[in-house]
């Protein structure tokens, strides 16, 4: 019998499709670019952050000052003085009705 061709099973080699490799590279590069862009942008936010922190501090301080001002106006010492100026005086006698 003449052997024309020896039968050899074909090697099943799995080769990653080029598409996936390209996609992975593109993805990585995009992420790198995004990170660089975010870092660049965020660095500039330092000033804004400092302004916001200061603004928060000032607002809290103003709140405290207002709260104290309200407390002062509602104090009995102040109310007694203002009511005296308005002509109010202590009751001399109280009538109890049963």
């Amino acid at each position: 019998m003449t052997i024309i061709k020896t039968f050899e099973p074909e090697e099943t080699t799995r080769k990653l499709p080029k598409v996936y490799i390209i996609l992975a590279i593109v993805g990585l590069v995009s992420l790198m670019l995004i990170e660089i862009w975010v870092n660049n942008t965020m660095i500039a936010y330092g000033e804004r952050f400092a302004k916001l922190t200061n603004a928060e501090k000032n607002l809290l301080m103003e709140n405290q000052i207002l709260e104290n001002e309200i407390a002062k106006r509602l104090s009995l010492t102040n109310l007694a003085s203002e009511s005296a100026q308005l002509g109010f005086s202590a009751a001399q006698s109280i009538l109890y009705v049963r």
């Binding site: 660095i43 330092g46 103003e62 000052i65 104090s75 109890y96």
Partner: protein, 565 residues
Amino acid sequence: MRIFLIKSFFVFLFLAIAVRLFYWQVIKAAYLQAQAEGQYFTDVKTQAQRGKIFFSDGAILTSSNPSFSMFANPKLIAKNQVANMAYSLAKLLTEQGLDVDELAKDLVFKLSKDLYWVRLKTNVSLENKRAVENLNFAGIGFEQTSGRFYPEGSSSAHLLGFVGSSEKGESKGYFGLEGYYDGELKGISGLVRHEKDALGLPIIIGNFLTSQAKNGKDLTLNLDRTVQYIVEQSLKSGLEKYGAKAASAVVMDPKTGSILALAAFPNYDPKSYLNFPKEYYKDPIVADQYEPGSTFKVLVMAAALNENVVKQDTKCDICSGSVSLGGFIIRTWNNKYRPELTAKETIIHSDNTGMVFISKKLGLDKFYSYLENFGFGDLTDIDLQDESSPDIRPKKGWKEIDLATASFGQGIAVTPIQMVRAVAAIANGGYLMEPHIVKKISDENRVFEIKPIIVRQVIKESTAQQVREMMVAAVEEGEAKFTKTKGFKIAGKTGTAQIPVAGHYDPEKTIASFVGFAPADNPKFVMLVRYDQPSSSIFGAETAAPTFFEIAKQLFTYYKIAPTE
């Protein structure tokens, strides 16, 4: 040879470089790292706010107030600008009624100094700070500080205490609540550590370490704002009217031990405490000792009734005249004697000879044990700093005359808070309560409530009822009957105790007091009013009693208690 020398030279050079590198990279590594971190890290300390103190109705008694300290760098200010700048600042910062020129001169002096930093003014308000910043003066800056704010002024000064500085320069509370609860009130400072850029601005994506500041805890008191105001106004007016050196009053809820009001004069302004004598800082209610006089009789009577050694109608067999004991003569306050005096009448007429009889019946052992049971000789554990308690002489040192005089409140020292607490036991059916100013302690996350504490039962409820009746009779028929509040059943007892001076009692100098509770059948409050050396009259019936009734009348209206008679 030359090649050897050159080689040696290079080897030496490399060694020298290696040693130097070793020095900078190993030995000085920590130092250089700290330097580098100092350049690109910044630490910002966040101040914790001191806790607030509230009245029982939630109104602020004291809180923190941001204020500013103005400073200048005189080196940045041109000499020909100093006067102009000083006058512009003075016009903005001078308080109403004060001289602008005086402040301007002071500012000119400070701005002319050859210094890099000089403080110009403290306690600058936010409004004034903004006005100064709008002037855009070079070399002027502000530091934020925080002080205490008192909306009611110097009210409750003794109760509050004040905030000063510790040895380390940190805020620290002294006396009163600020001293007692300093640990809870002061809080813990925080720290923010972040990377900064060349302009000093934070780098958001850089390292950020924060330790949050923890603000101090807030205190809510049992103190009633209206009752406190009523007591202070009445006491202040009484101090002037009766020409006393000092006055104090304390109002307590007998059922819970809650302190509803506490006032003493002379007092001080906690905001500017340095302008007042140090003697004023101590709260006389918890720290002053005095001889209680006749107010003490109700407690001795309670002891005797509780032990069943006397009854209300037991007659005194030594009361037909003065009593002689151990070389001393004991008389009544008005030299009037009643041979058939009953125990009840002893209280009504405040008879010293009757009390000597009662104390003899009781005996020293039982008397002493009731002294201790009523809490005398011990701290009351009220939550105020600097409470003290006068010692009671050991029992074995007591002579017959000591028992006799102690029975009418002389020769024995107590504090006002001890006295009011003991009488509260009569008001509430026999239980000694622990007095408390603070009702609850709260922070952002939790609230801790302080519950009433019963120390012990001192007398039976039936005994308390009997003593109550005697005290009501004392008000209705005793020396204070002319000034009592009509229509209400008040239980009380006057006291006029001579003050010991250099080993003897001065008859002209007294502590005039009145202790009582009302309404007698279901007491809402127990109160002690005390005048130190009143000059208009030495008697408690004519000074402390009218003040007590005046306060009680207003409290009946406030608590909506209708008259029962």
